[in-house]
Amino acid sequence: MAQTKIKLARRNFLLAASAGGVATAAAIVAGPSSKPKASAATGDKHAGKGYQVSEHINNYYRTTKV
């Protein structure tokens, strides 16, 4: 009986190793697909909040006319 248990433990180890390998491969395959998302975010970050006429800016324009 004891011998049978040892054999099962070995099989579990092999199963775990193969499952880990599959997970690694999936991560590698999924890697490039996540890159376009990152570049899209880069494109978005260039379009930040820009010039908007505010009371502060109007006040500045007024002071330049003195």
């Binding site: 909040k49 502060h56 324009y61």
Partner: protein, 207 residues
């Protein structure tokens, strides 16, 4: 869409360097880097004139044209910015810029150049607006705060005008109109002198 521009009124500039100080203070610009400078023409001669110079955010920017890694971009407001994560510090933009705007911090011994730094029109960089990363790399983003560049706002005589190109051009036009002079300060004739008459054709050689 507004197009951001600087314009320095040489009749008003008193060379106080307040704009230079405001810029350095606002963005915590490192030692040795000057995003803005005051240039005096005919220094010491009666009638000398001073103007404040930084990146002029050119509509057809030479820096952008020569950059080998294409790190420059123009915002919707016409502000020329660059991405320091892409910059390789080659210095091409420095040679291309007619205003000497690109600056390079010393990154080590033997004249090793760091990443280029220049005026951002107080509009930060590609990082998230008003984030710590943006401030650390490019300085404050005043435009996102509904303000204009610190140099222009701080100018005591309002010689340095900054903002929407249409608005500041109109402000300058009104000043020139009131003074009754000054329109000759800017333009082709001032920059390159009066045109010379075309040279007479040389006589044909006698055979």
């Amino acid at each position: 869409m507004a197009r951001m521009k600087f314009l320095c009124d040489a009749e008003r500039c008193i060379e106080c360097n307040g704009c230079v100080t405001a810029c350095k203070s606002e963005h915590e610009v490192p030692w040795g880097v000057n995003r803005r400078r005051v240039v005096t023409i005919n220094d010491g001669v009666p009638g000398e004139k001073s103007i404040s110079v930084a990146c002029m955010h050119c509509s057809d920017a030479p820096c952008m044209a020569v950059c080998p890694v294409d790190c420059f971009y123009r915002t919707d407001d016409g502000v020329v910015l660059h991405d320091k994560d892409l910059c390789i510090g080659c210095g091409y933009c420095f040679y291309a810029c007619p205003f000497g705007a690109p600056q390079f911090p010393q990154a080590g011994a033997f004249g090793l150049r760091g990443k280029m730094d220049k005026c951002t029109f107080c509009n930060g960089g590609p990082e998230k607006d008003r984030s710590a990363e943006e401030f650390q790399k490019y300085g404050r983003n005043r435009l996102a705060e509904g303000k204009l560049p610190a140099c222009a706002e701080m100018c005591s005589t309002k010689a340095l005008l900054g903002g929407d190109g249409d608005v500041i051009a109109d402000i300058y036009r009104e000043r020139v109109f009131k003074r009754g002079k000054g329109s000759e300060v800017w333009g082709w004739g001032t920059a390159y002198g009066p045109g010379k008459p075309a040279a007479a054709p040389s006589p044909a050689p006698k055979s």
